[in-house]
């Protein structure tokens, strides 16, 4: 069953690519294929929830709590994204959307591989596959700006991935004298034999893994590719990257932390995680103020939430639970915001705030969605992110790090001001009189709005109630990461 | 609440119009003039009650209600003060607040009545009236605070009644300062010389007089009587503080009250003859001086 999780989308990708032709019929068939595969994948994941599958391939592929959380998040987000892809491809499908659909499915395949692989090298291959699958999606529009974006994305990500590979090698050497029985680089054996891992190699491995997967996650000094990539990629892809790719990168980092925590290297591991978390919050807050482009604004918000994820991980205790919960909330909220902004960009043709405006009257659905997104992404109570951010804050206070909590709250306040100033401005300010590309009524159609509305309801639901099985799963994942359930 | 309180209340109502007469008479004598007879105010009130009424077209029912409110609030405020040195007609914990805020209600209605006529002179008077009363209120309450600290009393009866006699030896200087401060407040509230000149004819310089410019006939009579009563009220407070007479027998206490009021009237006359009006911009400093004096008394009491 685990194989199916990866093979299904992979075969789907090949199928989508195999179908030639840019005719209307081909496009419709291709999108139907896309949605079909996505639906099947969701069913598979649901089945995984009902009876957890056994490890397979000599223990290399297995599904634990953390993996299931990431898998569910990515699969759910992908399904919603494909729903709005139906509407999107009707408006904008250069070259018949052939590369677009196949690469989307390739991304789903590689993300599934990442979430179920317990062999860290296999996980690394999955991460590399996600990078490559996303490259053509970013380059979707084939213009000069998206070319520059994909170039920077590729170079930085490849260097990051290379460092991560180096870290994985270090981990393998650290495990060298852990006895013959241990399968090299397999999570169970790493965690079980953690005490016998060589501390020097283990710490060096964590450093490189943090640098590598930190670049994929978009933590502060290594975040520079994010604004350009999210700014130029179609909003649909932005949603996938902010929700899916971030989750996979966080999973990689979480696996490394899991091993390090098991080996008792907690005090070595946590300070850098907290440092990266806070620096991400700071850089994001600084760039959110005075931002002029809506998509780049969401990119920096993604940097901020990546910082929060890592901060929660670093704080330990209840923070680990908060981080894993925030992973889900972040995916839902980012999906909601990116898809809503996507509709706006489709209708108005531009993403710069100055030329937007009057959204509440021009595009009522997108306007309301943006408002809901604003208050969700900044952690206002009735929505999900409030619960996770409040848990992370309690972890900071619980651990006695008052200064960290103070800095975190101030930076959240500053980024709220930046987000509020822009989003409220484009929603409420009356539309500029001479809006050059006249407002296209298309984007308010059913499919394009159904996706974000579903995500919005999801975020609100998560804010009010966390279903019991999910609660159990989150506690399991948190205890694996060396934390505790609140 | 013995029989002496209502009698003292009645004497206050009767004596009230006499005080402005005595003050004006003293001022005239000291400045070498014969001045109007002491009972002048009685004749004025009597004459006005019989005269006709002229109402401006712009005024509403409020203009007609204002005089009634002013008199009613003055009467109720009087009922709270322990005129016979022992107990007031009405006494409950915190009745000093009722005393001050009843007078404030009267002032509020008077000022609104003035503004109702829509004349710029009455607007000017109203603005000055509320400005200066904003400075006398804190001074008055600081005096009350001082009295509370000295006598632990929470009502006017408690403060100015029997405990005050006991408090005098212990806190003589501060009680004296409170007395002086009350006198300054009296001058401001009754709109006497240093703050406002009752004898002036130029509307631009008036404060109290210009608000009631448009009242006529019985309304004006009520207002005149009420302002005299207000002077008597503050006089009674001053006498209550300076001359604790809880131990004197009933009639003697009332006699001392009447005598004290006359002395206060003379004092007002002396002050009027000795100094000219202050410039309007100087008046706030004069009133803040009253507050400073009272707060010094309070701090002195706090320290002992």
């Amino acid at each position: 069953m685990l194989f199916a999780l990866v093979m299904l989308p992979a075969v789907g990708a090949l199928g989508a690519y195999a179908l030639r032709g840019g005719t209307r019929g081909a496009v419709a068939y291709r999108t139907a294929w896309l949605v079909g595969v996505a639906a099947l994948h969701v069913l598979l994941v649901a089945d995984a929830w009902l009876d957890p599958p056994e490890p397979v391939l000599h223990g290399w592929l297995a599904l634990d709590a953390l993996g299931l959380v990431v898998l569910t998040t990515v699969s759910g987000l992908f399904a919603v994204v494909t729903v709005s892809a139906l509407g999107y491809l009707r408006h904008e499908n250069p070259r018949g959307g052939r590369a677009f659909t196949s690469c989307l499915l390739a991304f789903l395949a590689s993300a599934s591989l990442v979430s179920i692989s317990h062999h860290l090298a296999l996980l690394w291959v999955g991460m590399e596959a996600t990078t490559l699958a996303l490259a053509p999606l970013i380059f979707h529009r084939h213009n000069r700006r998206s070319l520059e974006a994909v170039w920077k994305y590729l170079v930085l990500s490849s260097v990051g991935i290379a460092l991560a590979l180096f870290g994985t090698f270090f981990l393998a050497t650290a495990q060298a004298d852990a006895g013959a029985a241990a399968r090299p680089l397999v999570l169970e054996d790493l965690v079980a034999g953690a005490s016998r891992l060589h501390p020097a190699w283990l710490k060096a491995a964590f450093v490189f893994l943090l640098a590598g997967y930190g670049t994929k996650l978009g933590l502060a000094p290594m975040h520079t590719w994010k604004p350009d990539t999210y700014g130029e990629a179609p909003a649909l892809v932005g949603a996938l990257m902010a929700g899916g790719l971030t989750s996979c990168a966080f999973l990689g980092l979480a696996r490394a932390t899991e091993v390090a925590m098991a080996a008792g290297q907690g005090p070595f591991v946590q300070p850098p995680l907290i440092a990266f978390g806070l620096s991400s919050l700071a850089v994001a807050a600084a760039f959110i103020i005075g931002q002029t482009d809506v998509k780049r604004l969401l990119a920096y918000s993604s940097v901020e939430h990546a910082g929060l994820l890592v901060l929660g991980l670093g704080l330990g205790g209840v923070g680990a639970y908060g981080s894993v919960l925030h992973l889900i909330n972040n995916a839902l909220v980012k999906g909601l915001l990116f898809l809503a902004v996507g509709n706006v960009v489709l209708a108005t043709g531009t993403a710069t705030a100055a030329s937007l405006g009057g959204l509440l009257r021009g595009l009522p659905a997108s306007g309301v969605l943006l408002l809901v997104g604003l208050f969700a992404v900044t952690g206002s109570p009735p929505f999900g992110p409030f619960v996770s951010e409040f848990t992370i804050l309690r972890a900071a206070m619980g651990g006695g790090h008052l200064w960290i909590a103070a800095v975190m709250v101030t930076l959240l306040a500053v980024s709220f001001i930046g987000l509020a100033v822009m989003i409220l401005d484009i929603v409420y300010r009356p539309a500029p009189a001479n809006r050059d590309p006249p407002l296209r009524s298309g984007p308010e159609s059913g499919w394009l709005v159904a996706g974000p509305v579903a995500l919005g309801l999801g975020v609100l639901a998560l804010g009010l109630v966390i279903p019991r099985p999910l609660q159990a799963l989150l506690s399991l994942a948190a205890s694996a990461l060396g934390g505790a359930a609140p | 609440m013995t029989w002496t309180s209502p009698v003292a209340f009645a004497t206050l109502l009767v004596v009230a119009p006499l005080l402005p007469g005595v003050a004006t008479k003293t001022r005239a004598l000291l400045t070498g003039r014969r001045g109007p007879p002491v009972l002048q105010l009685y004749w004025d009130v009597g004459k006005l009650l019989r005269k006709g009424l002229v109402y401006s077209t712009t005024t509403t029912w409020l203009f007609r209600l204002a005089p009634v409110v002013v008199v009613a609030t003055a009467l109720l405020a009087a009922s709270v003060i322990p005129l016979d040195g022992r107990g007031a007609l009405v006494s409950f914990t915190g009745d000093l607040v009722a005393f001050a805020y009843l007078l404030a209600l009267g002032r509020f209605m008077l000022v609104l009545g003035g503004l109702d006529t829509g004349s710029s002179f009455e607007g000017m008077g109203a603005s000055r009236e509320v400005t200066f009363s904003s400075f006398t209120e804190p001074a008055l309450f600081l005096c009350f605070a001082g009295l509370t600290l000295a006598t632990r009393g929470l009502s006017l009866t408690g403060m100015l009644g029997s405990p005050l006699a006991a408090a005098w030896p212990a806190a003589a200087p501060s009680l004296a300062m409170i007395g002086v401060s009350l006198f300054l407040v009296l001058l401001a509230e009754a709109s006497r010389v240093p703050v406002d000149d009752p004898a002036t004819h130029l509307e631009l310089t008036m404060i109290h007089e210009v608000i009631v410019l448009d009242h006529s006939g019985p309304d004006f009579a009520l207002i005149l009587y009420a302002s005299a009563l207000k002077l008597a009220l503050f006089g009674a407070l001053l006498v209550g503080v300076l001359v604790p007479r809880a131990r004197l027998p009933g009639p003697a206490a009332i006699a001392v009250l009447a005598l004290g009021l006359l002395v206060v009237a003379v004092l007002v006359g002396i002050v009027e003859s000795s100094m000219a009006r202050l410039r309007l911009s100087r008046v706030p400093q004069f009133l803040i001086a009253a507050s400073v004096l009272a707060s010094l008394a309070v701090i002195l009491l706090l320290m002992t």
């Binding site: 920077k152 000094p221 103020i289 | 009745d95 607040v97 603005s127 309450f141 600290l149």
Partner: protein
């Protein structure tokens, strides 16, 4: 509690009805009115029960959320605030129906959504006051704050309204983040996040809960409008529709007061310095609030600043109460809190009445500038009577409810003076502060009533103003009646307020026995005085009327000292009326005088917003701009950042020691 939740459901149903039947306005309005009225009435049942001493059973929902079960309950304190929420909330909602009806013709205004939001805000307010656990409290708190934003930006096409809304939203969100930090820090010393657990854990807070009290003061102060944190309040209240300003001034900012009271009651004995801080903050808010109100030319901004002043009075009472608790004087503590709670209720009544009156004036004349109004008493007699009742009440003059609550605060201050000894006696100086506030309030409302309603109309719009409809006058007179009833029968309200005050001070309800009896006896006397005053006025009025009938008065011209051609512009205006008083307050009044050629203008400025909040924000923007070159586009610099991060990590690896040892 079931009545309470059914009531909330009805209110939400009313909101939904207004949204669903947006096509048939008449049906929508009636459905909304009936449902919300029913909901509020039902909601009041347990509240009145709790006030009458019956303790209402709390309800616990075991939620699988981090932060423990959601608990709800109604005690004396919550019941009092429920009175405010449902009473004033209902009046504003009904008034809003008529007020917004005329906006529907405009066609493009979101009237139906505004009603829906009003209903949801009411529900959120009720939940804030009854929640007994941190997570539901914060949920209700933030949804109330955020939905109020959407109500404020009803006329979002005006740039001023958008700016006001934004400033409000930022201030309230920062306040909420402070509350996040407070509850997170406090949660560390308690097992679960329910209020009882927090109360149990309060003893082990470091430094007597100093950090918690500071964060509470900032978080709740921002919502209530304590002086340095009030900068958002005037702008937001002035630009919101009148019924929204009424509910914001009357109820929403009171949640800040509720929060402070709840934190004090949970914390047990706050340290003395906090009591003094709140006392001084109260006096400052009171005096500065009314001084800035005097300087205003816009009717609703003036009323908004008066909210700051009344919050000052409430905080004065709260400060004395806190001091009473820390100096172990139960009587002063109970009376201080009782004064604060009672004044919250009274202020909710007369402030919303005044805002509804201002709304009526705006609806009739189309302008809020005081200097363009005048002579409305003759044209809008009923609104004038209601506004006058509101003014007399807010200045705290005897026959009405303002006097009763200020009297209780005075009582607390005086009793602290009459206390045996110790530093608490210094609090008696607060009496002078309260007196100054009262006198300045009198000056300010003399100005408003005199210039807006009396004299000649100063502009054409004021000239042909007409009385507003029955639906708008109804709520106004209901509120006026409430003010009158509390003024004439104060014991009805003071007894529950004292028990609530005792509850906050952590005392048994009848702990202040003797003093309580004195207070109740005083209430009887105050009732007597009020009745005597009304009787005297009625008697005097009939006598004067009889006199007038016998000697028919001659209509004449106002005495103009012989000036032939008096024009309405020669009457006193808002700025001229206030200038002598503001002059003596100097720069603190924040009035900018413009003299160009022969023209002279005064403009009130918001001191804290212009000199503190905005410069601070531009400082942050400046700092952020300096970081902008990080993202300058050159790939090789990005790679250098990556290398730098790696080198830092390697340095950290090297210095973490033990790389050689196996």
């Amino acid at each position: 509690m079931t009545f309470f939740f059914v009531g909330i459901a009805l209110i939400l149903a009313g909101g939904l009805a207004a949204a669903l039947f947006r096509r048939q306005p008449a049906l929508a309005d009636r459905a909304f009115g009936v449902l919300v009225a029913g909901g509020c009435a039902l909601g009041l049942v347990p509240a009145v029960g709790a006030l009458a001493g019956r303790d209402v059973a709390g309800i616990l929902f075991a939620m699988p959320m981090p932060g423990g079960p959601w608990a709800f309950g109604i005690d004396g304190l919550s019941a009092f605030f429920l009175l405010i929420v449902f009473g004033v909330g209902l009046a504003s909602a009904i008034y809003g129906l008529a007020y917004l009806a005329v906006e529907r013709e405009g066609g493009h205004r979101p009237v139906a959504t505004s009603h829906l939001l009003m209903a949801v805000v009411l529900a959120a307010l009720a939940l804030v006051v009854t929640s007994r656990a941190v997570v539901p409290f914060l949920m209700a708190w933030e949804s109330m704050a955020v939905l109020a934003y959407f109500l404020v930006v009803f006329e979002s096409e005006k740039a001023g309204v958008r700016r006001a809304g934004l400033v409000y939203l930022i201030a309230t969100h920062t306040g909420t983040l402070a509350l996040f930090a407070m509850f997170a820090f406090w949660g560390r010393f308690a097992e679960t996040l329910s209020f009882d657990a927090l109360a149990a854990g309060a003893a082990s807070l470091p430094a007597g809960g100093a950090l918690v009290l500071w964060l509470a003061l900032v978080g709740f102060g921002l919502k209530a409008g304590l002086v340095p944190l009030h900068f958002w309040l005037p702008e937001a209240h002035a630009s919101a529709p009148s019924h929204v300003s009424a509910i914001m001034s009357g109820v929403v900012i009171k949640m800040g007061i509720y929060g402070l009271l709840r934190v004090v009651s949970l914390l047990g004995a706050p340290p003395a310095w906090w009591g003094w801080l709140v006392l001084i903050g109260g006096v400052l808010s009171g005096v500065l609030g009314v001084v800035w109100a005097l300087a205003q030319h816009d009717l609703k901004r003036l009323l908004a600043y008066h909210s700051v002043e009344n919050i000052g009075i409430i905080l004065l009472g709260l400060g004395v109460g806190a001091l009473g608790v820390s100096y172990h004087l139960p009587v002063v503590a109970a009376l201080g809190f009782a004064g604060a709670i009672l004044h919250t209720l009274n202020h909710a009544l007369f402030k919303s009445l005044l805002f509804l009156g201002a709304g009526a004036v705006y609806r009739a004349t189309g302008t809020r500038a005081i200097d363009r109004l005048g002579g409305l008493a003759r044209r809008m007699p009923l609104t004038w009577v209601a506004f006058l009742v509101g003014s007399v009440a807010i200045v705290g003059l005897p026959p009405l409810n303002g006097f009763v609550s200020e009297w209780v605060v005075y009582q607390a201050l005086l009793r602290s003076g009459a206390a045996a000894g110790g530093a608490l006696r210094l609090a008696v100086l607060g009496v002078a502060g309260l007196a100054l506030i009262g006198a300045l309030a009198l000056a300010c409302f003399a100005k408003v009533d005199g210039i807006v309603f009396l004299g000649h109309p100063r502009s054409a719009e004021a000239g042909q103003a007409r009385e507003v409809g029955k639906v708008m006058l109804g709520p106004m007179f209901a509120l006026a009646l409430a003010c009158g009833v509390i003024g004439l029968v104060p014991v009805l309200v003071v007894q529950p307020a004292v028990t609530a005050g005792a509850l906050v001070a952590g005392l048994a309800p009848d702990a202040i026995g003797a003093a309580g009896a004195e207070v109740l006896e005083a209430m009887a006397w105050i009732a007597f005085l009020s009745l005597a005053l009304v009787a005297l006025l009625a008697l005097g009025w009939r006598a004067a009327a009889a006199l007038r009938r016998r000697r028919s008065p001659v209509p004449g011209e106002t005495w103009g000292c012989g000036y032939a051609e008096p024009t309405p512009r020669m009457q006193y205006t808002a700025s001229s009326f206030a200038t002598p008083l503001l002059a003596s307050f100097g720069p603190v009044a924040g009035v900018r005088e413009l003299r160009h050629g022969d023209a002279f203008e005064t403009h009130p400025t918001e001191l804290i917003l212009d000199n503190v909040a905005l410069p601070l924000w531009s400082l942050i923007q400046g700092f952020a701009a300096r970081l902008r070159p990080i993202q300058q586009g050159r790939l090789w610099i990005y790679l250098v950042y990556l290398m730098a991060a790696l080198l830092l990590l390697l340095l950290y690896l090297a210095t973490s020691g033990g790389t050689i040892s196996p």
